[in-house]
Structures are given as C-alpha cells and as structure tokens.
C-alpha cells in the first residue's frame, strides 16, 4: 500500500513536470495561474493549523510584488533574485506585524489581517514613488516570457511549499501547532512558547505569499495597487483550501487544482455566469462533503475496503 502511494506520488510529480512538454502555451499560462492560487491556498492552510485564520494574504502578495518591482527598477536586480527579495520583505513585515497582533485570536486576528492588508494597499496607492494608483511597468516579463520556464517556476514554488507543509506536519512543529489550535492553556502548560511558534509560522507563510506576489508581478510585467493587492488573493485560496479539505497537505493542493480547472472550464463554456455555478458547487460541497473532497474521498475508499473485508471474511 505504501509503495503504491509513493509510486502514485512520483507519477503525479513526473506528470506535473512534463506537463508543458505536451501542451500549448495557452495551457501553460492557465496552469501557472492555477499554481499561484494553489500555493496561496496551501500557505493559508499552514497558518490555519495553528488555529489562526488570516484574511490578509492580498496584503503580503502586494508587498512582495512591489518590493520585487522596486528592487528591479531601482537597483537593477535580476527578476529571479527580486522574487526571493520580495518574499523576504513580506516575511519581515509579517514578523514585525506579528509581534503586535499575534496575541489576538480567532475572528479578531482575521479582521485585523484584513484591515492591515487594506491599509497597505491604500498607503501604496498614495505614494508617488511606487507609481501611485497608476502603478509601474517592469522592464520585461521574466524569462523573456517563456511560458515553459514560468510554469516550472510556479511549480517549483508550489513544490517548495508542499515540502514546507510536510515538514511542518512531520516535525515537532506539528504537535506545537495542533496543541495551540486545540487548547492553548494546555499547550502553554507543556512549556511551548506559543508566541514564538505563531510568529515564526506567520512570517514563513507570509514570505511564501510575498514570493507568489512577486512572481505574479514579474509574469505580468507590471504592478498596480488594484491588481497586486487584489482581494482575489485573499478570498479564492480560502475557498480552494476549504473545498479540498483543510489542515492537511493534499487537501488545499487538490482543492486548488480542481477549483482552478473548474473555474477556467466554466469561464470558457459559460462566459457570463460561471461564478454562479462556482457558488452553487461550493454550497453543494459544504452540504454534502463538509470536510472537504479529499477526506470524503478517503472516507469512501475506507468504506469500500471495509466492505470488501466484510464480504471476504
């Protein structure tokens, strides 16, 4: 069973890497976009494991975008390096912010993250050095617009995030975050420095979001407050993670890929009104598969196995 699972994973990985070789530029671009949102969904989930819900992803994506754009334009730094720097800046801002607001919990924390993201957007819109509301043009698309390399870049970022997520799941951090999520008092009494874990996790996921934002800016070759701080970055990944199943690695990934494909398919088939079907799908899934598709599928496989055992014995 374990070997089957590993073989399956390797096959999926190989397919993902070879995907651009068998498809056209158009599908490369769609896939890269789906990867962007899937990475965000997974990064949101990582923070969720500590019990904290964040609505501030658009803010860190925006910071990453603008940081990458400014270092590229002002200091002539290469696009790839600027993406890394964008992530670092976002992570730094998150760490500083975290010290101030990470003692908040639940809805309070969520609302504050949203407020901070909006404040950042307004500030950037009012600064002339960042181009104000008009935005700034970047010298060119990263990799000269080569859709293969763009796809592999986004795939690499997603794989990095998956690795991070699995690391969190398999290390001591998993227990720390889970215990914080379940019962803080108990967690504290076991000697865990809750605050340290929260700030670390928050900074890390925000750095990922900054990297995604920076990559997105380099792919689009421009930054603009409306698009770099778009609320789509804050809301759609949530739906993807919830759809696939939160608090796990495969959940947000599968949810992101499925919903991303669904969104594109619907857009092509039903140009005006695909959002309606999207909403209906979400409602139906919640009513009948409240723990996400992955767990529902796993549960179903379990049941089939049990049935088989029962009938054979």
């Amino acid at each position: 069973m374990k070997h089957l699972k590993s073989a399956l994973l390797i096959a999926i990985l190989a397919a993902a890497i070879c995907f651009p070789l068998y498809t056209g530029t158009y599908l490369h671009r769609i896939a890269a976009n789906i990867l962007i949102y899937t990475t965000l969904a997974l990064s949101w989930d990582i923070l969720l494991r500590s019990g904290q819900i964040s609505f501030g992803m658009s803010g860190f994506c925006g910071i990453g975008s603008y940081a990458a754009a400014m270092v590229c334009l002002e200091l002539g730094i290469s696009p790839l390096l600027s993406i890394v720097l964008g992530g670092l800046v976002a992570g730094l801002v998150a760490a500083l912010l975290g010290f101030a607001v990470l003692h908040l919990r639940g809805m309070y924390f969520a609302v504050v993250t949203l407020a901070v993201a909006e404040i950042l957007r307004v500030i950037v819109s009012n600064l002339s050095v960042t181009g104000g509301t008009v935005g700034k043009l970047l010298p060119g698309v990263i990799f000269g617009g080569n859709s293969f390399e763009i796809y592999w870049l986004m795939l690499g970022i997603l794989l990095l995030t998956i690795a991070l997520s699995e690391l969190f799941e398999r290390s001591r951090i998993h227990f720390a975050l889970t215990s914080i999520r379940n019962n803080e008092i108990v967690a504290r009494s076991t000697g865990i420095d809750i605050f340290k874990y929260l700030v670390f996790t928050f900074a890390l996921v925000s750095a990922i979001q900054g990297i995604v934002g920076a990559a997105s800016a380099q792919i689009n070759a421009f930054v603009m407050p409306e698009t770099s701080f778009s609320l789509n970055f804050a809301l759609l990944p949530l739906a993807m993670a919830l759809f696939g199943g939160v608090l796990s690695t495969p959940g947000p990934v599968i949810g992101g890929v499925l919903l991303g494909i669904l969104d594109e398919v619907l857009r092509v088939q039903i140009p005006s009104g695909h959002l309606l079907v999207y909403g209906i799908v979400l409602v139906v899934v919640v009513l009948f598969m409240p723990n996400g598709i992955v767990r529902a599928a796993k549960g179903q496989i379990q049941r089939i196995r049990i049935q088989r055992i029962r009938t054979t014995s």
């Binding site: 809805m107 309070y108 407020a115 979400l282 409602v283 723990n291």
Partner: protein
C-alpha cells in the same frame, strides 16, 4: 462613588464635550457622521445577533441586504410602492426566505466546522450576487424619491435630513432587540442558547426552533434594511460586500453580545470618517482611519480582557 461609575461618568462627559466641540466646529461632519453611523449600526446589528446566538458568521449578509434593496427598487419602479411602505412586506418575505435558508442549508452546517460555515455562506454570497447580476445587470440603479433630498436649516447650516432615517431605525432596532432579548421569554431563551447551547437544551429549550426563529429574524431585518438603503443610495449587485466588512469590524471591536456598544462604535466610525473627509486633500485617508480605529479598538479590547 465606585471606580467604575467614575470611569463611566468621565467617559460620558468626554463624549459630550467632544460632540459639543464638533457641533460648533464641524457641524455638517457631525450630522452626516451620525447618519452614516446609523447605517453602519443597522447593518451590523443583525449580523451580530446571528453570530452571537446562532453562532454563524453569515457572509451572505450583505447580499441579502442587496436583494432586499432590489425588491424595494422594483416595487417602487413597477408599482409605485414607496420604499418605506415596502419595509413591512419585506420583513415578512425575508423572514420566509430566512426560514427556507435555515432549513435547507444553514442547519446542516451548524454541526460542521467553522470553516464549513464560512465556505457555505461564502457560496451563498456568490450565488445571490451572480443571480442579481444575471437578472438585473451590474449597472447602478437609483430611485427618484422626493423626500430623499429633504433638508433643514439651522442657523447658517443647511443639511439633509433623510439620512436620519438610518439613525432612527438603528436606535429603534437596538432598543427593540435589547428589550426582546432581556424581557421576552423567547428572547431570554435565545440568549441562553447563544451562551451555552447544550446547557440550554438540557433546560428544555428547543435549540433548533430558537435558531430557526433568530436566524430568520436576522434575515428579515437585513432584507428590510435594503428598502431603507435604496431611499438614498444606488443599488447594484456588488453593493453588499463593503457593509459586510464594516459590520464585521464593528462586531470585532465591540463584541458580538454588546449590541449597544456596536451602535456607539458605529456612530464613532461614521463621525470619524466624516470628519476626515471635511478636510480637503485628506479624503483618501478616511479608509485608513477606519481600519486604524478598528485595529486600535481590537487591541485595546483584548488588552482589557487579558488584564481581567
């Protein structure tokens, strides 16, 4: 005199002084701030009740307001029914809609995790908004109501008075809700269910029926507020979301059980925004003020709770 009482009196005096200063220095900002604050409070109150008692964060709240607004708009455009007159039938219609929503979707989600509830109400929000988009298109529509630009003059200040509808409705609503929750038997049962659902059930309270009643009530109120909204503002499918956000923020600052506090903060917010906008050149900072106040309020509140 106890410490707490002294604090309260100081606070009241401070507020009174601030209002007096504003009344002389920026009377227009004060007046319009109160009106805007009234609207914020109106929108936040049903959301708070749904959250506090039923325990559900209804992300489709803003779209319900939008749908109520469209009902009132078409009633006025097609049959000449004044929005104020639409309030009563809307209460009824949306109560039924709330019951339908509860029975078909919300009830099942209550047993699931918080995340499922968020996803469900988010899905509902998308469905409602897109249905409105498909039916009525995204363009803004506005009623031409004669009294919506009614005005009065005090001294040298001329100002609009129709916005006080929101303030009056907010006060009436909060008073009504508080009386209901504290005095009426059903209301008290509702509070019990909100505080400790299992305990309340053990006491013989029918939890499900309370949820149904309260949820439908909040949907009814929200739909009716839509009618009030179209008196002064344009209606379009995406109109609800910003109110969702502001309502949520107010609840976060004041606390979901603190209905009176929500009204106070809403007024404070309205006045602060209005004040900032009265300085030419600084209008863009009004939204930052909103978020900054929000963050400050939350931080102060949690500090106070930690100290306790």
């Amino acid at each position: 005199m106890s410490n707490k009482r002294r604090q309260r009196i100081c606070l009241a005096a401070g507020i009174g002084a601030a209002i007096a200063v504003l009344a002389f220095w920026k009377p227009v900002a004060l007046i319009y701030g109160l009106q805007a604050g009234g609207l914020y409070a109106l929108v936040a109150l049903p959301l708070a009740v749904a959250l506090g008692i039923v325990g559900i964060l209804n992300l489709s709240h803003g779209t319900l307001l939008m749908l109520g607004g469209y009902f009132a708009f078409w009633a006025s455009t097609l049959w000449g029914v004044d929005p104020l007159v639409s309030v009563a039938p809307l209460l009824l219609v949306f109560f039924l809609i709330g019951m339908l929503l509860y029975r078909t979707t919300i009830r099942r989600a209550l047993n699931a995790t918080l995340f499922s509830q968020l996803l469900l109400t988010f899905g509902l929000y998308m469905v409602f908004q897109e249905v409105a988009n498909l039916l009525w298109r995204g363009n803004a529509r506005q009623l031409s109501i004669s009294y919506s630009s009614a005005s009065a003059t005090i001294g040298s200040i001329t100002f609009g008075t129709s916005g006080f509808i929101y303030l009056a409705a907010a006060i009436a609503l909060v008073v009504g809700l508080v009386l209901f929750l504290r005095r009426a038997k059903t209301g008290q049962a509702a509070v019990a269910v909100g505080q400790n659902p299992r305990g309340a059930q053990l006491c013989g309270i029918n939890k499900d029926r309370i949820y149904l009643l309260i949820f439908s009530l909040t949907v009814a109120i929200t739909g009716a507020i839509g009618a009030l909204y179209v008196i002064r503002y344009a209606i379009f499918p995406a109109v609800g979301m910003p109110f969702n956000l502001k309502g949520l923020c107010l609840i976060a600052v004041a606390g979901e059980g603190n209905l009176g506090g929500i009204v106070w903060f809403a007024l404070l917010l309205g006045i602060a925004e209005s004040l900032i906008r009265s300085f030419p050149g600084y209008g863009g900072w009004a939204s930052i003020v909103f978020f900054a106040l929000l963050i400050a309020g939350i931080l102060v509140r949690t500090q106070r709770e930690r100290r306790r």
